[in-house]
């Protein structure tokens, strides 16, 4: 049976790096997806995700409730993602510098090429939600978790998770309400 987050945290604190690796495996997609919702390219989002896990590793001993690891980790992701977004915005404002021999961006960003504009739009809309709603939406649709499973992972009441899902979906429905998707009828 898979070890719980709390068990893996305790093992990592005792020096078991593989245990921390298991935590990374378990949560990396969500952390990565949260970073993408900041409008980052996939390479940048991976950088952010990596930094999130490194910061988490450093601070692991300060986590008073190991069972709340997921919520704590996503909070770190929020901070790190916000930092990166600010840096990007400032660089955009200061982009009058001569771009000489700047390392070229990958000709095709792996994720965005695969995703296409529609998905990029959805990720951007998700970026407008607050952190709590983004996390539950991501866990629901990325990892396919039910509200019960989300609640267990986050250590929060099921009703709270349902409420957030409901409000997030209502917001997204309104946001896409007049936008025709490539595949389906007007939502």
């Amino acid at each position: 049976m898979a070890r719980s987050d709390a068990q893996l945290v305790q093992a990592a604190l005792a020096g078991d790096r593989e245990a921390f690796g298991a935590l990374v495996d378990r949560h990396r997609r969500t952390v990565f997806a949260l970073a993408l919702q900041r409008g980052l390219q996939s390479a940048e989002a991976e950088d952010v995700a990596q930094e999130v896990f490194i910061k988490a590793y450093r601070s692991l001993g300060e986590l008073k409730q190991p069972e709340a690891f997921a919520r704590w980790l996503y909070g770190i992701a929020e901070h790190v993602g916000a930092d990166q977004e600010r840096v990007r915005q400032r660089r955009r404002r200061e982009s009058g510098l001569e771009a000489m021999n700047e390392p070229a961006a990958p000709p095709h960003d792996r994720v965005t090429q695969a995703l296409g504009e529609e998905r990029e739009r959805i990720l951007r809309a998700l970026g407008e939600l607050d952190e709590a709603k983004r996390v539950v939406i991501t866990m629901r649709y990325l990892e396919g978790l039910t509200p019960k499973e989300i609640a267990e992972r986050l250590g929060e009441p099921r009703g709270t998770v349902r409420s957030r899902l409901h409000h997030a979906l209502s917001y997204l429905q309104a946001a896409f309400g007049t936008v025709r998707s490539p595949e389906g009828p007007e939502a």
Partner: protein, 929 residues
């Protein structure tokens, strides 16, 4: 799930509400029970609206699923993360690196607006280890001085053909200068020969250098410093100061050393932490500062001076005239831009007593060579965590600490000293469960035994009554204390105080021996809340007190805490300020502490009780000033430097010393300025009134609620004047002289917005409306400009103070609400300050004597003498000129049937041709315009 009625077998069909709930559960859970699916299908057959809703939700569901399909990191992501984690052996616990804690991360996240850390490329991220490492000690470094030009041309081993280092910015901002062109330094950038990296002004630059997928060094450049690259391990410091953390395990070819050239020579290292101070004046000496390790300094060129051995904690000069100076302890404040505990190096000064005798190491007369490894010098600023000293005597505790730092000789010496001093007052009670610097730990271990840790790493017995020392040394930002703001989970109903402190308090703590009650105590209700609040309650319940002192929570009997924190003056004579009722600190440290708190938390307040008499109700720290809330409600803003100067001298900060004015109630009736002046004289102040000041008509000024200060202000305002302090007395004169000309005023409401995020967007505009409602006359004709988190308007100081009072009242109420267990919804639009609510409550009282009509009498008689309004507890003021006029004739009888006092007052005012205005905390009856 209870979406459906219990009877689901052929039972009544779903209502639309029930159908929508089922649809909601469908999209949330992804599936329905058979019966739910059947009933929903039946419903949507006949309900187009619900069918549409179902279709929209399904479609949204599909779009979201598609958007997330295939979303994943690269396959090697986890491996990359694990590689980037701190290596085993570089920290006692794999979870910790020095200087990094969650509170620090949070603080960095909040300050990220100033952060400009460039992101290295993914490859660089993969290859780079975690940032700053303190290189294991005991490795000697080599410094040789040579002719710069020759070295640059040839180097020690000849021209290097090594690949350039990759440079990645970790903190600060930098530009790259190449061939005369400037640009922003890109992330993970390969430096070519001749590239110059310049640290931009504002904050130090931290640059990581790596090569062949392995870190080489971390370079810290002071703002404005410039570093020129020649090869991956050869640089020239051409301007400013720099500090180098060179990896011992970096990649290198045989004979390839990390070298940094300066105008007077070069520094070649194997692995250590050292800094170079390069004065702008080329005729000045260059100073080498060594924090860790041992270096040999030798002068090349024509001098024949023997090499000098310099150990960690010492510095030496590379002389412009040639040669090397004698080593000396690192000067306090040296390279403080990078070495934040520069003053703590005093502790390390005597760490190598025989190091600086100027003798060359035996058998080595040349300028090259590596000295034998010396015992590691303790890094007093290193953070320790998860170490339990409880039950150990001081010598054993110090030995334990030494063992965790490679048997650091300083700590072992202290252990011996402790034995000689007979330190055996009792075992330690200290358990470090949050990061704490080594120096502070040793200080507390010593303090427990009645000893003092002095500069030079020496212990001595404390003199009776001696001051315990600066409480917040080394932690002016107070980030460690911020753990006390954390919200704690509920604790058991009955738990011993020591156990509660151990298990629930997110901070290090210590108790005075014998002061903690051993038995379980009932926890206060609610048994959850902020750590600070709970600490207050549990200590109070146990008859104890606590103080945040020198990095931990100290719990003891109140008289011990009082003795601990009673520090009227610091040892250097700097006046102290009392912070939070628990901590004392020098003025400057205190202001810096709260400046950091305001920046981080958006709030900071403390009562000024320093040499100056308490003048203000609250002082809120702004990033560059103090915002003072005076006791009369006036608000002023004083720049830091001015505040420090004034406070140190004991000069009252306020231009209006209102404390005594606020203690006195204002007179019930004001007829003449002389009467007011007499009241003011009672407080020890003087009131200067213009010679042509008018007399108040009888009963124009009926005061029920104003203090003396407010009475003076309103008396002045009624006569079109203002009041301010000048030359130590209160002066009544024109508004312009008192409050200045109108100018752009900015009200920041980001604190309030943070407390009410749901209304953040609308808050400035709503606040503007509230200010207008509370002060319609004062802000008549004033245009407010709401921006994202602030409100702008053009006004004088009186208007600013009034608007600020509303703003701070809102903040106060929001904070009180935030502290509640179950805060009710907050209606921002309907919110009013407490004094406004009180005014409205007073006006809602019934009319005295339950009168149904007011007789035909004069206005002054009806207002003051009739008794109809005698139970009104608010102040009612009338324009003096109107009162004069209205005293001449009687008004007709007025019907006030069913009206409360306020409604009846309005009826009376209208009959008198006046308008009734609720202005601030008074009712103001004015002539119509």
């Amino acid at each position: 799930m209870n979406a459906l009625p219990s009877d689901t077998n052929g039972g009544p069909p779903l209502t639309c509400d029930e159908a929508r709930r089922v649809i909601q559960y469908l999209t949330q859970d992804g599936d329905l029970k058979d019966v739910e699916r059947r009933l929903l299908a039946l419903h949507v057959k006949t309900c187009a609206a619900c069918k549409g809703e179902l279709d929209r939700r399904r479609h949204l569901d599909q779009r979201l699923r598609k958007a997330f399909t295939g979303l994943d990191t690269s396959p090697e992501f986890t491996e990359r993360v694990l590689e980037a984690l701190p290596a085993r052996g570089e920290a006692d616990s794999p979870a910790w690196l020095r200087g990094e804690s969650q509170s620090a991360i949070d603080a960095l996240a909040r300050e990220a607006g100033a952060s400009s850390r460039a992101k290295p490329s993914p490859r660089e991220r993969m290859l780079r280890a975690v940032r700053i490492y303190r290189v294991p000690l005991g490795v000697a470094a080599l410094i040789t001085i040579g002719v710069l030009g020759a070295w640059l041309r040839h180097g020690i081993v000849g021209d290097s053909t090594k690949a350039p280092a990759l440079a990645s910015i970790e903190a600060g901002e930098a530009k790259l200068i190449r061939d005369g062109h400037e640009r922003e330094l890109p992330p993970g950038y390969p430096l070519k020969e001749g590239d110059v990296v310049e640290a931009l002004a504002g904050r130090p630059l931290r640059l990581a250098l790596s090569s062949a997928a392995t870190p080489i060094a971390t370079v810290h450049l002071a703002p404005g410093a410039k570093l020129k690259a020649f090869a991956r391990q050869r640089y020239e410091l051409i301007a400013g100061d720099a500090y180098f953390d060179v990896r011992k395990d970096r990649p290198r070819e045989p004979g390839e050393n990390f070298e940094v050239g300066t105008r007077h020579g070069r520094v070649t290292v194997v692995g250590t932490s050292f800094g170079i101070v390069l004065p702008p004046d080329a005729t000045k000496d260059v100073t080498v500062v060594v924090d860790e390790g041992t270096v040999e300094a030798a002068s090349g060129g024509s001098t024949t001076a023997a090499p000098l051995r310099v150990t960690g904690g010492f510095e030496a000069d590379l002389l412009a005239a040639g040669g090397v100076s004698a080593a000396r302890p690192i000067a306090p404040g040296r390279m403080a831009w990078h070495r934040p505990n520069a003053n703590a190096t005093a502790i390390a000064q005597s760490t190598a007593p025989s190091a600086n005798d100027g003798t060359a190491p035996p058998g080595d007369a040349g300028v090259t060579g590596i000295a034998a490894p010396s015992p590691p010098a303790i890094d007093w600023t290193a953070l320790e965590n998860q170490i339990d000293f409880r039950g150990r005597a001081l010598p054993a505790a110090l030995a334990l600490l030494a063992a965790r730092h490679g048997d650091a000789p300083e700590l072992l010496r202290l252990a011996e000293q402790a034995k000689r001093l007979g330190a055996g007052a009792g075992p330690s009670m200290l358990r470090v469960q949050c990061p704490m610097p080594v120096e502070r730990i040793v200080r507390w271990l010593a303090r427990e035994q009645g000893l003092r840790l002095e500069a030079g790493a020496r212990l001595r017995a404390a003199d009776p009554g001696e001051l315990p020392g600066p409480p917040e040394a080394g932690d002016p930002s107070g980030t460690a204390a911020r753990g006390l703001h954390a919200t704690l989970p509920p604790a058991p109903e009955a738990i011993a105080l020591a156990e509660w402190l151990d298990e629930y308090l997110p901070a290090n703590w210590l108790a005075a021996p014998g002061d903690l009650p051993p038995e379980a105590a009932t926890m206060p209700r609610p048994a959850e809340g902020s750590a600070r609040t709970l600490l207050d309650e549990v200590c109070r319940d146990a008859g104890l007190a606590w103080a945040w002192y020198d990095g931990l929570v100290y719990v003891a009997r109140p008289e011990r805490i009082e003795a601990l924190t009673r520090v009227p003056q610091a040892i250097d004579g700097t006046p102290w300020v009392r912070l939070d009722g628990h901590t004392h600190a020098p003025w400057r440290a205190g202001l810096e502490f709260f400046a950091a708190r305001v920046r981080n938390d958006g709030h900071g307040g403390f009562a000024l009780q320093g040499p100056a008499r308490p003048l203000v109700a609250e002082a809120a720290l702004q990033p560059d000033s103090l915002k003072l809330h005076y006791l009369c409600g006036r608000v002023n803003r004083v720049r830091f430097a001015e505040a420090l100067w004034l406070l140190r001298d004991g000069t009252p900060l306020a231009t209006l010393d209102t404390e005594p004015l606020n203690e006195h109630e204002g007179p019930r009736l004001v007829r003449t300025w002389e009467e007011l002046a007499a009241e003011v004289r009672e407080t020890g102040r003087a009131l200067a009134v213009p010679e042509n000041a008018k007399v108040f008509p009888v009963s124009a000024f009926r005061n029920r609620a104003l203090r003396l200060g407010g009475s003076i202000e309103w008396a002045a305002r009624l006569q079109g004047l203002g009041v301010h302090a000048r030359d130590g007395q209160l002066v009544v004169e024109t508004p312009e002289a008192c409050y200045g000309a109108p100018r752009l005023q900015v009200l920041r409401c980001d604190t309030q917005a943070a407390l009410l995020p749901a209304e953040a967007a609308a808050l400035p505009e709503t606040l503007a409306e509230t200010v207008r409602v509370c002060h319609p006359e004062l802000f008549a004709g004033v245009t407010f400009h709401p921006l994202k988190d602030r409100l702008l308007f053009e006004g004088d100081r009186r208007q600013l103070a009034a608007a600020q009072a509303v703003l701070y009242a809102l903040e106060s109420d929001l904070r009180a609400r935030a502290a509640e267990v179950a805060p009710a919804a907050f209606d921002l639009r309907a919110w009013r300050p407490a004094w406004r609510l009180k005014l409205e409550q007073e006006l809602a009282r019934p009319l005295q004597a339950g009168a149904e009509s007011l007789p035909a009498r004069s206005f002054p008689w009806l207002l003051r003498s009739s008794g109809y309004f005698s139970n009104l507890g608010c102040t009612v003021l009338v324009d003096p000129a109107a009162m004069d006029r209205l005293a001449q004739a009687d008004l007709p009888a007025l019907d006030v049937r069913g009206k409360n006092a306020g409604q009846a007052l309005r009826t009376l005012a209208e009959a008198a041709g006046l308008r009734m205005i609720l202005e601030g905390e008074v009712v103001w009856l004015r002539d119509k315009p």
